[in-house]
C-alpha cells in the first residue's frame, strides 16, 4: 500500500485462500431458519485488506475460520486475529477494521468481541482493552482520517 516507506514485515508468509462456500439445498430453502454460522462471519472479514500489503487478512493468516465463534441464539460473535509479527504496530487498526466490518454487517443485537490470538502480540492486553472499550471505539470512528484508513481496509476489490 505505502510504496517507498519501510515495511514492518517486508516478506510475509502468504496463505492460500479458501474456496467459496458450498451452497446446499438446505441453504436455498427459504422456509428453514438459517442461523448465522462461523463461515458466514469468516466470509465477512476474510477479504479485509491488510493496511500495509496488497493482501487480504486471510492470505496473511491474520484471520482463520477456526478463530471465529458465533452463537446466533445468544447474539454474540467472538473473533481472534493473529498479527503477522509480535510487535505489529497495525494490530489495533486491524482489530478495529474487523470490528467495524462486523458492526456494519451484522444486526444490532450482536455483541462483537474482537481480540488478539493469545500469545501472539507483545501488547496483547493493551490492544484487547482498547478494542473492547466502546467509548474509545466510538471516538475513534468520529475521526475522519482514521475512518478513511479503515474504509480503505474494508474496500473490497473486484476480482
Amino acid at each position: 500500500m505505502s510504496g517507498g516507506t519501510q515495511l514492518e514485515n517486508a516478506n510475509p508468509v502468504i496463505f492460500e485462500r479458501s474456496g467459496e462456500r458450498l451452497q446446499t439445498a438446505h441453504d436455498e430453502d427459504e422456509d428453514v431458519h438459517d442461523p448465522i454460522d462461523d463461515r458466514e462471519i469468516f466470509d465477512m472479514i476474510r477479504s479485509i485488506n491488510d493496511p500495509e500489503h496488497p493482501l487480504s487478512l486471510e492470505e496473511l493468516n491474520v484471520v482463520e475460520q477456526v478463530r471465529v465463534k458465533v452463537d446466533d441464539n445468544e447474539s454474540n460473535v467472538h473473533v481472534e486475529f493473529t498479527p503477522t509479527i509480535p510487535h505489529c504496530s497495525m494490530a489495533t487498526l486491524i482489530g478495529l477494521s474487523i470490528k467495524v466490518k462486523l458492526l456494519r454487517s451484522l444486526p444490532d443485537r450482536f455483541k462483537i468481541d474482537v481480540r488478539i490470538t493469545p500469545g501472539t502480540h507483545a501488547s496483547e492486553d493493551a490492544v484487547n482493552k482498547q478494542l473492547a472499550d466502546k467509548e474509545r471505539v466510538a471516538a475513534a470512528l468520529e475521526n475522519s482520517s482514521l475512518l478513511e484508513v479503515i474504509n480503505q481496509c474494508l474496500y473490497t476489490k473486484s476480482i
Binding site: R109, K129, A132, E135, R136, A139
Partner: protein, 329 residues
C-alpha cells in the same frame, strides 16, 4: 423478580444513534438525555407521559457524552468528544448556550457540579481532571488540573454534601480529591477493580461509594478515619457484587431516597440491588431485588433514580431509546 420493575414508558430519544446518558433535574420534573447525534434533549411530563420539551443542538461538533444539572436546576453542563464542555442557562422553557469551556486536549468524558454549585469538575481522555470555579457573574475559571490518573478518565462525581470529588479511570483506579490549603490534592487511590472503572455513585450520606467496571463487578467502598500518622483519608472495599452481570457494567446509581442501587450493563439488562440488614457494618450485604434481562435491545449505558419520586428509574441504551421504569419493592 422481574415483576418488581414495571415499564412506564419507552421513548425513541436519539433515533439512529446512541443514547449515552440520562440525568434528572434536581426537582425531578425534567430529564436531560444526550447522544451520538451531538444533541441534548430535554424531557418533561405532560399528564401521564413524558414528552420532548426541547432539543439543544448545533453547539457540539461531536458526540455529547454526558450532561449534568446544577444543584439549583437553572444550568445544564454538557461534556463532548469535541474536547469542550458547554454551559446552558435555562430561561423560562428555553435553554441558551452561556459559555464554552475549553482546555482539555481531547474528548471530555464527564462533567459534574459540586453540591454548592460553585465548582464544576470535568475529566477527559487526556488523563486529567479539571476543577472550575464558578462566580456569580457566570464566569468560569479553571482552578486546578489534577493528573493522578495514568489513563483516560471516564467519570467524575461529587460527594452529596462536602466538596469532595471522586474520579474513575481506564487505569482501573478511583481517586478521591479534596482541597487542602487552597490546593486540590488526591487524598486516596482506590485499587481493586481489574479493568476500566466506568462510573461511580455516592450513598445518600456520602459515607459509601459504589463503583462499576468492565470487570463485571460492582464494588462498595467505605470511608474510614485516617490511620495514625497519615493525613490522608482511607477508603476500603467492603463489598463486591460479583457474578450478576454478563458483560461490562457501564453505570451505577445509588438512590438517595430509598438506598436502592441500580446498574446498567452491556448485557442489555437493568438490575436493582438492595442493602440487607447486616450484623457487621463493615460488611454490608446486598441482594438482587430486580432483574430486567432485555431492558433494551442493546447495551444499557446509564441508569438514574428520580431525586424526588421514590422508585422512578430511567435507563438509556445504544439503541437510542430511553426507558422509564417503576421499581416496586
Amino acid at each position: 423478580m422481574k415483576d418488581n420493575l414495571i415499564l412506564v414508558q419507552r421513548l425513541n430519544a436519539h433515533p439512529d444513534s446512541r443514547c449515552w446518558f440520562v440525568c434528572w433535574s434536581p426537582n425531578g420534573t425534567l430529564l436531560a438525555s444526550c447522544g451520538g447525534d451531538k444533541a441534548i434533549r430535554i424531557w418533561g411530563r405532560e399528564g401521564e407521559s413524558w414528552v420532548c420539551k426541547g432539543v439543544l443542538e448545533d453547539r457540539h461538533e461531536r458526540t455529547v457524552r454526558k450532561v449534568a444539572w446544577s444543584p439549583c436546576g437553572n444550568y445544564l453542563a454538557s461534556a463532548s468528544f469535541d474536547a469542550t464542555t458547554s454551559i446552558w442557562k435555562k430561561k423560562n422553557d428555553e435553554f441558551e448556550n452561556l459559555v464554552v469551556l475549553d482546555g482539555h486536549e481531547n474528548e471530555v468524558k464527564c462533567v459534574a457540579w459540586s453540591p454548592s454549585g460553585n465548582l464544576l469538575a470535568t475529566c477527559s481522555r487526556d488523563k486529567s481532571v479539571w476543577v472550575w470555579e464558578v462566580d456569580d457573574d457566570d464566569e468560569y475559571e479553571c482552578s486546578t488540573v489534577l493528573n493522578s490518573h495514568t489513563q483516560d478518565v471516564k467519570h467524575v462525581t461529587w460527594h452529596p454534601t462536602q466538596e469532595l470529588l471522586a474520579s474513575a479511570s481506564y487505569d482501573n483506579n478511583i481517586c478521591i480529591y479534596k482541597e487542602v490549603d487552597d490546593d486540590w490534592e488526591c487524598q486516596a487511590t482506590l485499587q481493586g477493580h481489574t479493568s476500566t472503572v466506568w462510573s461511580l455513585s455516592f450513598s445518600a450520606t456520602g459515607e459509601m461509594l459504589a463503583s462499576c467496571s468492565d470487570d463485571r463487578t460492582v464494588k462498595i467502598w467505605k470511608e474510614y478515619p485516617a490511620e495514625s500518622g497519615q493525613g490522608n483519608m482511607s477508603w476500603k472495599c467492603v463489598c463486591t457484587l460479583s457474578g450478576y452481570h454478563g458483560r461490562t457494567v457501564f453505570d451505577v446509581d445509588w438512590c438517595r431516597l430509598t438506598g436502592a442501587l441500580a446498574t446498567a450493563s452491556g448485557d442489555d439488562a437493568v438490575r436493582v440491588f438492595k442493602e440487607e440488614p447486616s450484623p457487621d457494618p463493615d460488611q454490608p450485604l446486598f441482594s438482587l431485588a430486580a432483574h430486567m434481562p432485555k431492558a433494551h435491545s442493546q447495551d444499557v449505558n446509564s441508569v438514574a433514580w428520580n431525586p424526588k419520586e421514590a422508585g422512578l428509574l430511567v435507563s438509556c441504551s445504544d439503541s437510542g431509546d430511553i426507558a422509564i421504569w417503576r421499581f416496586q419493592d
